[in-house]
Each structure stands twice: as structure tokens, then as C-alpha cells.
């Protein structure tokens, strides 16, 4: 049995004939060719495969692609605007929020959806909300710092349109 599935990924519709057992993460990587979304543990623990599905952070290794038929997905490839990094990406760079980088796409997508959901973030809330993402290098200190900085910058950008300047200022 094959099904025709159409999923909007980062603004572009990906329509493919697939088997129902195809996992969403494999649809993203193999059918759409977007390999920024990583498969870490494949057991819904590590969060490396986190994407935005209709505005919610979801582990794409624990969803069948057919379940996302008609949905809108944002992956790590959809975060930056051309060569301009998303404020979160810039903050991860400024605050050493990554080492090997394997968990980073999932961390950034979890952080993006965390910022969308919560107006005000505290270090405690960031750590609680990151429970679904595992990093084996950084010890999380840089990651938490980066998300905090991006959150402050995003709040400041309401009055100051250039968010990346605000992040640089907060990192000094």
C-alpha cells in the first residue's frame, strides 16, 4: 500500500508517493532532501530530530509521514533568512551553544518553538523546556545562555527592530 502525501516544508510543498510506515524524519531527509534534521537515538529521547509541525515542537522520528499529510513544517533549513542567521542561531554562535553540532538543529528548533510559546523565559524554564533535547558535549551551559540571550534580544526587538545588534550587545 502506498499513499500520496503532500507536506509543506519551509514554504515549499513536497508531494511524494510513500509507504505508510515511512517515518516523518525520513520523509524530510530522503524525499525532501533536507538533511539538517538529524536522527540521533531513533527512540524519541534525544530530540535531534525536532521540527516545527503546525507550530508545535515534535520529534519527527516518532511520527509517520502520513500523519503529517497537509501539515506545515519548519525545519532547521527554514530558520535563517538567506545568509542572515536567525537571532537564535547567532546567539548559539556567540555563546558557544554547540561543540560537535549534531544535536544543534534539534536544539535550535526546540528553542525557536520555546520562544514562540513563552513570552518570558527564565533559566529554570529553559532547562525544564529543554528536557526533550540531549547534548553530549556542552553541558548545556552555553545552550541555556544562548537561548536566554536570544529571548532578551527578541523582547528588545519589539522596540529595536534590529535583533542581531541587541544580541551582540547582550553577549558583551
Amino acid at each position: 500500500m502506498h499513499c500520496r502525501v503532500a507536506i509543506n516544508i519551509n514554504g515549499k510543498t513536497e508531494a511524494h508517493e510513500i509507504e505508510p510506515r515511512l517515518l516523518l524524519v525520513h520523509f524530510i531527509r530522503e524525499c525532501a532532501g533536507l538533511t539538517g534534521t538529524h536522527v540521533g537515538c531513533d527512540t524519541s529521547q534525544c530530540g535531534a530530530c525536532t521540527i516545527g509541525l503546525n507550530g508545535l515542537a515534535v520529534k519527527s522520528c516518532t511520527k509517520f509521514a502520513v500523519q503529517a499529510d497537509g501539515a506545515e513544517i519548519v525545519t532547521i533549513e527554514g530558520l535563517s533568512r538567506g545568509d542572515t542567521l536567525h537571532p537564535l542561531q547567532q546567539a548559539f554562535r556567540d555563546h558557544h551553544g554547540l561543540q560537535c553540532g549534531f544535536c544543534t538543529p534539534g536544539m535550535l528548533m526546540a528553542a525557536k518553538l520555546m520562544l514562540d510559546r513563552h513570552k518570558q523565559l527564565s533559566e529554570e524554564l529553559i532547562r525544564h523546556e529543554l528536557e526533550g533535547n540531549i547534548c553530549r558535549c556542552t553541558g548545556y551551559v552555553g545552550i541555556v545562555k544562548a537561548i536566554m540571550a536570544a529571548s532578551i534580544a527578541t523582547a528588545a526587538s519589539d522596540s529595536q527592530p534590529d535583533a542581531s545588534n541587541a544580541i551582540e550587545a547582550s553577549s558583551r
Binding site: 500500500m1 499513499c3 509507504e19 505508510p20 510506515r21 517515518l23 531513533d42 527512540t43 524519541s44 529521547q45 530530540g47 525536532t50 508545535l56 515542537a57 515534535v58 520529534k59 516518532t62 511520527k63 509517520f64 502520513v66 500523519q67 526546540a110 518553538l113 520555546m114 523546556e129 528536557e131 526533550g132 533535547n133
Partner: protein
């Protein structure tokens, strides 16, 4: 990991879903999938067909009616945790929902899925026992209601019949000076409850305990009510000493299972401490509500 092949169906109503299940004896219902899909990836489950409930909107409703809160079985943990209706009328359920897994899991997993799977380390089972919930199930034969006290039948086993779908959970709204709390020790790897304790209690004007209900998960093969302890607290002005003494009669659960993190022998004292902590938090809530 690749699951075995299956056929996929997307019904748009409960009637259509249970009709399909009646025709397809080896089918499984798919809600959030956060228990079923991992099982399928390990090929511990190989259903011939999956009946996806994502378009059954009647199972995603939340409402208050006739002194009850009615929660559709496909309401996600995040929806339960963030619902203003639930946090005012049934705060124990929304508090418990916030303790499940992690944000990504809470965005997908559902109340009905958790209760139908009946994992001993799940958080909701203790909660629905403490809340005296009623579980409404539907099949081609019609609807029936099952008390939460009759729901759990053993390890991963419930009163649900083959082909039957858990569609709604009804919870009585308790008035008066009522408090509740959920306390758990999360497993450091899985975030499942090593032991979890849910408490709801009501005090009279003099501060005497009118009713208290304690649900426990993680101790044995399924969630249980701590009836012996409840009996010793009803009609008394509760303080921590009294709770500690009552906890000595923690029911002798035959099949306590431990792991490398917490041994079976350590689970009873852990459970007693969680009961004391949950009752103490519930007492504080109850006082706050009255003021």
C-alpha cells in the same frame, strides 16, 4: 528502525473509527503514537492496520457540563496542561499533564492514549484514580462507562475490549475547600515516573478532612488507590505526623519491580515520602482556595 508494513486509515468520526475497527481485527488505533510507534519500530507490535484518530475532532473537545469536566480522549498533554478550564476546575489533571515526558512528547501524547496503554510508569493513571474519573468507551455495540477503579487490570492491561475505543474521560468537579497535588520521582533517562502520587482532598470549615483520594503509579504492575491510608485520614485534622503514621500501612503490593536506578526495596519509602509531600502540597492549595 523501520516498522513492519501496515495499511493506514483516517476516519473523521468516532462511528467511522469503531466501524473500521470492527472490520479489521488486527488494527490498532493511533493517537499521539508516542507509545505505539516506538513499539512498532522495535516490531514488538505489528498491527495489520492503523486507524489514525487525528481527524476525529469530536475526541478533542474539552467542556464542563452537569458538574463534570468532559475531556476528549485525544486531548494532548500540552492541551490539558495549558487549558484554563482544566486549571480552574480540575487542577490536578493539568498539573499532572505538565509532568509528562518533555515538551515534544506533551505536544503529541494524549490522555486517552496514556490510559489505554496503561504503562506502570505513566503519570495519568494515579491522577484519574485520585479524581474518581469515569472512562467512556464506544464500539459498534454502543457506549459504556467504566469507573477508574475498574479500569486497570494489570501490566499494560485495561478493561477495554477488542474493537472498543476510549472516547471521553469524565471528572466530577469538587466544590468547597479542595486541594490537590501530583508528586513524582522522574526516571533520569525516560522521565517516566519511578513512583508518582496524586492526591485530591477536601476540608470542612474546621479544617477536618472530609474526603481524600490517593492514587499511586509505578509501584506495581498497574496504578492503585491507597484506600488504607485514606481511611486513616478521613474525619481527622491532617498534619504531616498523621500522614507519616498512616503511610506505615502502605498496601503490600506483591509485584514491586525495581531497576538499576531505584531498587524494589527502596520504592516503598520513596512512595511514603511522595505521599507526604503530595498531601502537604494539597493541604496548602486547599487553604489557598478557601481564602
Amino acid at each position: 528502525m523501520y516498522p513492519a508494513a501496515f495499511r493506514y486509515h483516517v476516519p473523521e468520526s468516532i462511528a467511522e473509527a469503531v466501524g473500521m475497527a470492527a472490520e479489521l481485527p488486527d488494527a490498532r488505533f493511533l493517537a499521539g503514537g508516542h507509545s505505539l510507534i516506538p513499539l512498532m519500530k522495535q516490531r514488538l507490535a505489528q498491527p495489520s492496520d492503523l486507524i489514525d484518530l487525528r481527524k476525529v475532532t469530536e475526541m478533542r473537545q474539552l467542556s464542563a457540563l452537569d458538574g463534570q469536566v468532559r475531556i476528549g480522549a485525544a486531548v494532548t498533554h500540552w492541551e490539558a496542561h495549558s487549558s484554563a478550564l482544566l486549571s480552574s476546575l480540575c487542577p490536578l489533571l493539568s498539573e499532572t499533564a505538565g509532568h509528562i515526558g518533555d515538551p515534544q512528547v506533551r505536544n503529541c501524547g494524549t490522555l486517552g492514549g496514556s490510559l489505554a496503554y496503561a504503562d506502570p510508569g505513566a503519570d495519568y493513571p494515579a491522577c484519574i484514580l485520585a479524581l474518581n474519573a469515569v472512562l467512556v468507551c464506544e464500539s459498534l455495540a454502543g457506549r459504556r462507562s467504566i469507573d477508574s477503579s475498574d479500569w486497570f487490570k494489570g501490566l499494560f492491561t485495561t478493561a477495554l475490549d477488542p474493537g472498543e475505543l476510549l472516547v471521553e474521560i469524565h471528572i466530577p468537579v469538587i466544590r468547597g475547600c479542595t486541594g490537590s497535588a501530583y508528586r513524582k520521582l522522574p526516571h533520569p533517562a525516560s522521565r517516566m515516573a519511578v513512583v508518582g502520587v496524586a492526591v485530591e482532598l477536601t476540608l470542612d470549615r474546621a479544617g477536618v478532612c472530609e474526603r481524600i483520594q490517593i492514587g499511586i503509579n509505578g509501584l506495581g504492575s498497574n496504578a492503585i488507590r491507597a484506600g488504607d491510608i485514606e481511611e486513616q485520614l478521613i474525619g481527622r485534622a491532617i498534619d504531616d505526623d498523621l500522614v507519616a503514621r498512616a503511610c506505615a500501612s502502605l498496601p503490600r503490593v506483591q509485584d514491586i519491580s525495581g531497576d538499576r536506578f531505584v531498587s524494589a526495596a527502596d520504592k516503598l519509602p520513596l512512595c511514603r515520602n511522595l505521599i507526604r509531600s503530595a498531601v502537604s502540597a494539597a493541604l496548602k492549595n486547599a487553604v489557598r482556595t478557601e481564602v
